[in-house]
């Protein structure tokens, strides 16, 4: 019974590691780099919350800046 309960429980979204910290600690996120920015926006063009993506605060701030620049240059949508 105990095992069954464990299987039914959803994985904890807080258990994720920051993907930018793991690969050689990103110092700068480029607004021109569409493929890395795209997964951090949802279908409607909003920036995904840190809680779900596991990005650390430092990189989330960089990410936000990069996404906002990309939006200004019409590479990403503001609102879909």
């Amino acid at each position: 019974m105990a095992q069954k309960q464990q299987q039914q429980r959803r994985p904890d979204p807080r258990g994720k590691k920051c993907p930018f910290c793991t690969k050689a600690s990103t110092r700068y996120l480029d607004y021109k780099d569409y493929p890395t920015l795209k997964p951090y926006t949802d279908y409607f063009g909003n920036i995904r919350a840190r809680y779900y993506t596991g990005v650390c605060l430092k990189h989330q701030k960089m990410l936000r800046g990069a996404i906002e620049k990309a939006r200004f240059m019409a590479m990403l949508a503001y609102r879909k």
Partner: protein
């Protein structure tokens, strides 16, 4: 294709200028426009480090009625006080839809957009590929789990059997010994 991004003198910095202009310009107009923009930089005494023309590109939302636009990225080394002037000129220029000035960090690598795109196309996985890979991994995991479970089951059964066998053997030995003891005539009970 990666010139150093360290400014050559104390008074200058390196800036990245991204300029978006309409895609439906005639070739002659486009050449004129590029000349005009580069004129602003040379006027300010800027030194070009790299130029990357992205070409025609779709936009995420319409800008002044355009759904497609051309992009050019320039890397210039210039006096920080001149940036304002250049931005002013770009703002006034009729054909500039959007422009963005960024100061790239020290260790920034200038990569050509076309190269990056080709690399991405070669290495990235499409959504379908990711889905099939995940499915295969799941199936593999399940198979591995099943095999493990079966092995464990077989092992536990074997140990049970051996235990039972041992028990029988021990009993037989005991009874034989008892009989020997009982049948021993030298014993006087």
């Amino acid at each position: 294709m990666s010139p150093s991004l360290v400014a050559s003198s104390e008074d200058t910095r390196i800036y990245e200028f991204a300029i978006m202009y309409p895609a439906d310009l005639l070739q002659k107009q486009e050449a004129e426009f590029i000349k005009e923009v580069e004129g602003y930089f040379s006027e300010a005494g800027a030194m070009q480090i790299a130029k990357d023309a992205w070409g025609r590109r779709g936009l995420a939302y319409p800008v002044k009625g355009h759904m497609e636009a051309n992009f050019v990225i320039y890397y210039y080394e210039l006096d920080p006080s001149k940036v304002k002037e250049i931005e002013q000129n770009l703002r006034i220029s009729r054909n500039v839809l959007r422009h963005l000035v960024v100061k790239p960090p020290k260790n920034y690598q200038i990569l050509k957009y076309s190269d990056v795109y080709a690399d991405w196309q070669k290495n990235h996985e499409s959504v379908d590929e990711v889905r099939t890979r995940e499915k295969e991994e799941k199936v593999k995991e399940q198979v591995a789990k099943k095999a493990k479970r079966q092995v464990e089951k077989a092992a536990s059964e074997r140990t049970k059997e051996t235990k039972e066998d041992k028990g029988v053997v021990v009993e037989a030995q005991l009874s034989r010994k008892l009989e020997e003891l009982i049948s021993d005539d030298s014993l006087d009970i």
